[in-house]
Symmetry: C2
Subunit: 150 residues, 2 copies
Amino acid sequence: MPKNDEIDRRILRELQRHARLTNVELAERVGLSASACLRRVQDLERSGVISGYHARVDPLAGGAGFIAYVTVALSSHTKENLEAFERTVAAAPQVVECHNITGATSYLLRVEVAGLQQYKKFHTETLAAVPGVAQITTHVLLATTKHRFD
Amino acid sequence: MPKNDEIDRRILRELQRHARLTNVELAERVGLSASACLRRVQDLERSGVISGYHARVDPLAGGAGFIAYVTVALSSHTKENLEAFERTVAAAPQVVECHNITGATSYLLRVEVAGLQQYKKFHTETLAAVPGVAQITTHVLLATTKHRFD
DNA sequence: GCTTCGCACGCAATATCCTTGCGAGATTGG
DNA sequence: CCAATCTCGCAAGGATATTGCGTGCGAAGC
């Protein structure tokens, strides 16, 4: 229901970078009164344009000393295999993101664990144990040189 | 400087999911008084454990109708090539994330654009134009089945 | 064992902020 | 041209953030 006008875009831009801005400061930045600004933000939240507010935590401080992007290929895309895989992924706390992508491998996971041993365990006992998983390729994260808001 | 005890972990857990929690409600959830809780949060911010607060915006509403994960391989890892590539990535607003990974391809990008035409343009005019880029593989995002906090 | 020091806590007070109701001006459609 | 609708700014009260202060607990040293 929001109008997607210049002010809304500015609100989104500011909140994407600084979600804990006070409403009055946000209002000043976008050139609105506090009440009008608040109502717009609430509209954006209700309509789902803003789906949530999240603190970004340093992975190391969060106990994630080993991060990898993992591509997974399924041998057969039967309904049972797909559901079993997605259920495993959803239940695994090590899997932080799961994307369905085109290409030779149909899934791209981001996995965060404490260290190499934990990854080995996850790899063999969790991922490889899912029926229909044909190929697992691990890409260890060396560095993140750009992130959405830095 | 934070102690990484049970209460800090609970604070981080709550703020990762609900960054706009009021401090008093956060204090109740973690079992602390408001002032003590606020001081811990400020410590976590100052020490860099919490690196920022961000609103999550629906990609479609944000104008990103086409999202892809793109792997890039460089022909030679000379200093000039690396720097040219990273400079291009840093300057390109379409690139939302850039990760340096192990494997046959050394970079994994997340690219968000309005549509296929815009992607084609980015692919040929921006990415392929960087000297030393040997291979570009595009994986179109079909769906994201799991994200850190859903 | 006792003392001292430092640290984190809770309480209280003030400044700031959020939130809602209300009336005015602008915009749209008939 | 008028009416309906929408969004705005203003104002008030209730909630919240933020700081100073005193207390208690645990660690280090004597």
